[in-house]
Symmetry: C2
Subunit: 294 residues, 2 copies
């Protein structure tokens, strides 16, 4: 339980509602900023403005997945007010106060460092990335069904990379009956791919390995699908690039050659916002409970 | 091989192209009617009109999946000509000539019976229905991802019916990590559901079994999701009805109660037309080869 814990939740999208729901169930004292157009009531949660908050009692501050802008502004879909996180707010908090954000930038790094407060970047955590790989894999399945005229079942699928996302995507397409091969370069990854019952190949040899592929899913955040590689692939191959922007595909060349290549970051918030919010809520609940014990 | 076999392929959609491709590869002599706007060339295939066909040499006639209209008209997407199948055409064929169609109606039944020619309804065949259940299951996955805000993974899914489609759908959602329960009434089906590692329940008890379900997929061609059953289901439950029209759901009541219920027949031709064509081509190739042997 989080009884007597004071948490400030600021702005954001539908995902924050799942977090409020969870922390409310755990009996936290919640101050919601940027939710004035929201009609749902949550036990123990009150709507406030940044100026109303009694910062000296705040144990944790929760920012949205997108964090803050370079001038400290916070996005919200439940308010028309402009909300801004200032260094002064942080300075007024007790020393043990922790700031949780999806991602960070120079502004937030600077603020938390100057105020000497801990900053947790949730989207960079391994557990969050692995949980999020589930809706990412499902979103990829949806796109593959929408953008091809064949079934995933029996399709020849290549997954590039066996990281947190690559493993989930490979497993999911294999479960749907696709013939899945996975490209990696570390020997322990090639071993794991084999153990999973999939076909491993070395990414140093991409040009030869993608010659008969129906669907290529990239998770490697580097330019791997170069014009040299693309030119050897079948024209009908669909490319879904899950690597963070700008992706790992030469999109200009793919378009020139008439190949369909889609950059698809941020799938969890799009295809399953409720689950994506629950993922963050579960991890936050554990983190806040642990902090309570120390 | 189908060397010396004369097959007339009439009208239809993209699926017929896969059939032409396959039979051409097997060396059949193909007369294509209703493809005058098609630019692809196929070896051994010539574009003709109904009047040009030398009916006395025809071993098989292939109609589209939709068959013919009640006045004998045949739909085509590669021609503006009106194409009509007449009793006289059939009468001119040799006795062993077989007519293959996706489905039939009174007109086609009457024509083939009067001419005393065999009629094979491909979509009613068990093998075709089972192969088609693969793209149907994938189309259902796509709709489930599109129309919910949660992941399929860990969702509570109920599948009604363990027929040709129900089994594939149940297996697919289970492979994606859903908690799948399957409703049936025959004891051997309840045994099979258990063997598959899924949770069986008796469909006589629907009202109590669907109280905590996120997604309900119906495959039973009878009104099973009545207002009595729907009224006990959670409001957020998504219903995907795969039973042939009019489906097994009281759609009027579902809408009145604010529940999302989707009737989704004919998914294979929509989500995977190429695979759907290949399915028919493979089955036809086997059937035509067998006829050659006799």
């Amino acid at each position: 339980m989080l009884t007597d814990k004071h948490v400030v939740i600021i702005g954001g999208d539908a995902r924050q509602l799942e977090i409020i729901r969870k922390l409310s169930a755990l009996d936290a004292k919640i101050s919601m900023v940027g939710f004035d157009q929201l009609n749902d009531g949550f036990i123990g949660a009150s709507k406030q403005t940044m100026d109303d908050i009694e910062w000296s009692t705040v144990d944790a501050i929760l920012l949205p997945v997108s964090g803050v802008s370079m001038d400290g502004k916070i996005e919200t879909i439940f308010s028309n007010e402009t909300i801004e996180l200032e260094l002064d707010h942080l300075k007024k908090t007790p020393n043990h106060c922790v700031v949780y954000s999806g991602i960070s930038n120079d502004y937030l790094d600077h603020c938390t460092a100057t105020a000497d407060r801990s900053l947790v970047k949730l989207m960079e955590r391994d557990d969050v990335a692995i949980y999020n790989s589930i809706p990412t894999a499902e979103g990829t399945v949806m796109m593959a069904i929408q953008h091809t005229d064949i079934t995933i079942h029996r399709a020849k699928v290549a997954v590039l990379g066996l990281g947190r996302v690559g493993m989930s995507v490979a497993r999911t397409f294999n479960a749907l009956g696709a013939e899945v091969k996975v490209g990696a370069n570390a020997s322990h990854q090639l071993a794991r791919i084999t153990e999973m019952g999939l076909t491993p190949f070395d990414t140093s040899n991409l040009k030869d390995e993608l010659k008969d592929i129906d669907l290529c899913i990239n998770t490697i955040p580097a330019l791997v699908l170069t014009s040299n590689v693309l030119t050897e692939m079948p024209l009908h191959t669909l490319i879904i690039d899950l690597a963070s922007k700008p992706g790992g595909t030469d999109f200009r060349y793919a378009e020139k050659r008439g190949m369909k290549a889609l950059l698809a970051p941020g799938l969890p918030g799009i295809v399953a916002p409720k689950t994506a919010g629950q993922i963050l809520a579960e991890v936050l609940a554990v983190l806040l409970t642990k902090e309570s014990i120390h």
